[in-house]
């Protein structure tokens, strides 16, 4: 027992100055919060863009107040022009995928909690950590700046396929400076993510405290670790791809543009490039990216389900191995985005087999989540509701993937709303449910106060019902053949679908409005919430063994020693119904 104190105590003080403490901070907890608020700004901006998208689709003649001030060219008198619609969806996708889904679950929560959960004082490279945040911040600033340039934001979508994205403003509005800035923004984001990934990997491998073997890490740490490896391998490729695309635009090279093109009656002076090369490079990043978005959500869901079901996680090792399997397989499936791209159909079929295979570890995780709550004693906190909601939307969204993974079915469903419904549920909504669960769960530790549970539950019910009303109908639209990225439905066959679109728009407006409850709860609780105790949820992992909020160096120089697996809940003979990881208490062998 005395082992816990064998380390020499090195207590570190926080820097005194405001700038070094809150702006250019080296403290992983401050940087984690910085990432969190960057994502919060991005998610609300992205959500407002989605409102504009939805409003324009069903009420194309609506004059949207104030929009003409932001974009006199794109939305004169508040009327959204077709090209501005494409700008909105491009920025919506880019903000959400990069600056929300990649940022909050990994860089936000991961930064704050990885070091504490493995018993470390900070991340391995604090200066690199600060640099990765500020590079990411610069990336966001560059992206947002495209709203304010004369030509408007780019219109090529978050996937920015060349030649549309490679040949400059001849191919359309927004494809001049706006597209160049988009590429610079994403390249910067890649740099920030690469630095972050290095830091996460080094921290996980090198800074675990005594007794914290890899197989004793909370599943959150496993998910951040695997996500960091995916980030390291995939953002490197996207960075290269962005460099090549930028060179095609400004350096006269032709990586992605073949010869003989005529756009707007102008002969394009490129030769020898391949549009499919970009698609391969982009999706080599893009598919692991989907898992970068969702793995941390899986980690936090496992963490929270076990805590509030008061039961050990079902199949801990299988959960860790399935994260690894998903991580590995995620590099073998990118071609399923390209079944109809002109890629060899034999190659396409091979990709489809791997894609079906990646459904297996995802299914295993679902079974284990159900196994975790089976026979439990569920405490219905808001965090738990969102974790259960995660399982529900992940299953729903995941199953529609089994359709899209099959080339003959994708030949019909590709680029329809079926795809939009699928990925919004499985990686968008599910990941956001993971973030909400994480916020309600960890808020006491991050800010030292409790969030309001009544408002939290109200927020959950509105959001849970709302997202199904928005995204489930998209599958029906897709089956009816409704193409995505259309700014107006003038075609005869699409007109009968309008009532469904109207329903979705109203659901989106209401669900979005419900997020204001969350925003209010977040900021109100930060200052007025009830003071949080050290371990309000009676949880087992190390973040609950330090004060709320934790001191500057987390453990005041006393590194903990870990004796137990991370999810020892419902232990029969223990003093309480749970045993913390750093508790020297002995657990009777009968449990295993």
């Amino acid at each position: 027992m005395a082992e816990a104190f064998v380390h020499e105590v090195h207590h570190h003080q926080a820097p005194a100055g405001f700038v070094r403490k809150y702006i250019f901070s080296l403290d992983h907890k401050v940087i984690g919060k910085q990432y969190y608020f960057l994502a919060l700004f991005s998610v609300f901006t992205g959500m407002i863009l989605s409102w504009l998208i939805r409003i324009h689709l069903v009420w194309p003649n609506a004059h949207i107040w104030g929009l003409s001030l932001l974009s006199p060219n794109g939305a004169p008198n508040g009327l959204i022009k077709p090209e501005y619609y494409l700008s909105l969806l491009t920025l919506h996708g880019t903000l959400m995928v990069f600056f929300v889904l990649t940022t909050a679950p990994q860089s936000g929560f991961g930064n704050f909690f990885l070091p504490i959960q493995i018993g470390a004082e900070d991340m391995a490279f604090p200066r690199l950590n600060m640099l990765s945040f500020w590079v990411t911040f610069a990336a966001l600033a560059v992206l947002v700046s495209t709203f304010f340039i004369a030509d408007g934001p780019p219109i090529a979508g978050w996937t920015s396929y060349p030649p549309l994205s490679a040949v400059g403003s001849v191919s359309g509005p927004g494809e001049g400076l706006g597209q160049t800035l988009w590429i610079i923004s994403i390249a910067l984001f890649c740099v920030g993510s690469l630095l972050g990934a290095l830091n996460f990997i080094a921290t996980t491998l090198e800074l675990r405290t005594r007794g914290m073997s890899l197989m004793r890490m909370p599943l959150t740490c496993w998910s951040w670790f695997i996500t960091a490896i995916l980030g390291l391998l995939s953002f490197a490729v996207l960075l290269g791809a962005c460099a090549l695309l930028l060179l095609d635009r400004v350096g006269g090279s032709s990586f992605f543009v073949p010869g003989g093109l005529v756009i707007s009656d102008k002969i394009i002076q490129h030769n020898g490039g391949s549009p499919l090369l970009w698609q391969h490079l982009f999706w080599f990043f893009g598919h692991p990216e989907v898992y970068i978005a969702i793995l941390p959500g899986m980690g936090v869901t496992s963490h929270i389900l076990s805590c509030f079901a008061r039961k050990p996680i079902f199949g801990y090792k299988v959960m860790a191995y399935s994260l690894m399997a998903i991580g590995f397989l995620s590099f073998t499936v990118w071609g399923h985005h390209m079944f109809v791209s002109g890629m060899s159909p034999y190659t396409g079929f091979t990709f489809s087999i791997f894609t079906m295979a990646i459904g297996v570890p995802s299914a295993i995780k679902t079974f284990n989540w159900l196994g975790t709550i089976w026979g439990g004693r569920i405490r219905y906190t808001t965090a738990m509701l969102f974790a259960l909601g995660f399982v529900s939307v992940f299953v729903t969204g995941g199953l529609s993937g089994l359709f899209l993974a099959q080339p003959p079915l994708d030949m019909y469903l590709h680029a329809t709303y079926f795809v939009i419904g699928h990925f919004h549920l499985v990686m968008g909504v599910a990941a956001i449910f993971g973030m909400f669960a994480g916020t309600y769960f960890w808020f006491p530790k991050m800010f030292g106060r409790m969030m309001n549970e009544t408002l939290g539950k109200l927020h959950f019910w509105a959001t849970f019902i709302g997202v199904y009303c928005i995204f489930m109908p998209m599958h029906f639209l897709g089956i009816a053949g409704n193409p995505r990225r259309y700014s107006a439905f003038t075609d005869n066959f699409l007109l009968p679908l309008m009532p469904l679109h109207e329903f979705m728009t109203i659901a989106a407006l209401l669900t979005g409005a419900a997020q204001l409850i969350f925003l209010f709860n977040l900021f109100w609780s930060m200052f007025k919430g009830e003071k949080a105790s050290q371990n309000p949820w009676e949880a087992t992992s190390l973040e609950w063994s330090v004060p709320s909020p934790p001191p500057f160096d987390n453990f005041d120089g006393n590194y903990p020693v870990v004796y137990h697996d991370p999810y020892e809940y419902g232990v029969a003979d223990a003093a309480k119904d749970y045993v913390m990881q750093d508790s020297p208490e002995v657990i009777a062998a009968s449990g295993h």
Binding site: G260, I263, P312, V340, S341, Y380, V395
Partner: protein
């Protein structure tokens, strides 16, 4: 709270299943020879996914209600997992998912691993911002070469043909509608003039990107069913973001009897 969650999950599961079951929003009619196999594969996948969906959601709902904390301090089932169960559901999921994919193999192979029939009528399709144009080889059966520098949309020379000097181009027929005869194999050679587009006809169950720098062949046969709906006229909707006018990049397929097709083609030839 557990009951409320269980009821909400059960409710949307029921509503979703009903809408799929009732075909409230469903596929348009199928007018191709290869389409029914795809539709069958879709229905098979729907049944399997539907069963998993209902079992998983209702299982979640049931557990959420049954295992709620009733404040009675009952003991939880202290379990770290079960390797036999893990092995069982891993094997079952692998067989089911990969097996399902392999069952769709033939449908994909028939349309993509074999070429068009030798007697197929070959037509070139060109996508460009934001129109579709079609080229028939004319009586000589040969497409004339294209010249980038001769492309002139205002003069109607969308392909850049030199009808004066190129013999093969002289009788080429360029149209704005894709006229095809029923029951005859059709081969389309897809190309793009500027950026990537996607040739997609819902009723033909076909979608294929048109990629700059590539000529991509696809093939299909329209069935008699095609003549029974919309006067044989079906929309070609661009399915790859191609610029500001993407949403209005529409063309039409007109399916005709063989005799009507010949008449139509002659009329088109006369108007070149």
């Amino acid at each position: 709270m557990g009951l409320a969650l269980a009821l909400v999950i059960a409710a949307f599961t029921g509503i979703s299943v009903y809408i799929f079951w009732a075909h409230t929003w469903w596929f348009p009619p199928d007018i191709s020879v290869h389409g029914p196999a795809m539709d069958r594969q879709f229905n098979l996948t729907l049944v399997i996914c539907g069963i998993i969906f209902v079992l998983a959601q209702l299982g979640l709902a049931w557990f959420a209600w049954k295992y709620r904390d009733r404040g009675d301090h009952r003991k939880v089932i202290y379990s770290h997992g079960n390797n036999k169960l893990e092995a069982t559901w891993t094997t079952a999921a692998a067989i089911l998912f990969i097996g399902l994919n392999l069952m769709g193999y033939k449908s994909w192979a028939d349309t993509h691993f074999t070429g068009a029939a030798p007697n197929a009528l070959t037509i070139q399709v060109q996508g460009q911002q934001f129109y579709w144009y079609f080229r028939y080889p004319g009586p000589d059966g040969k497409f004339g070469p294209t010249h980038v520098d001769l492309v002139d949309d205002a003069a109607g020379n969308f392909y850049g043909l030199d009808r004066v000097h190129d013999l093969d181009a002289k009788d080429d027929i360029v149209t704005a509608t894709l006229g095809i005869p029923v029951n005859r194999p059709i081969q389309l050679i897809l190309r793009s003039k500027d950026v990537t587009h996607s040739f997609s006809v819902r009723e033909l169950r076909i979608k294929q990107d048109t990629v700059p720098g590539m000529e991509i062949p696809i093939h299909f046969t329209a069935t008699e069913e095609a003549l029974k709906h919309n006067g044989g006229r079906y929309e070609i909707a661009c399915s790859q973001l191609c610029g500001m006018g993407h949403y209005r990049m529409r063309g039409f397929v007109q399916v005709m009897t063989e005799a009507d097709f010949e008449k139509w083609l002659q009329a088109q030839a006369a108007s070149q």
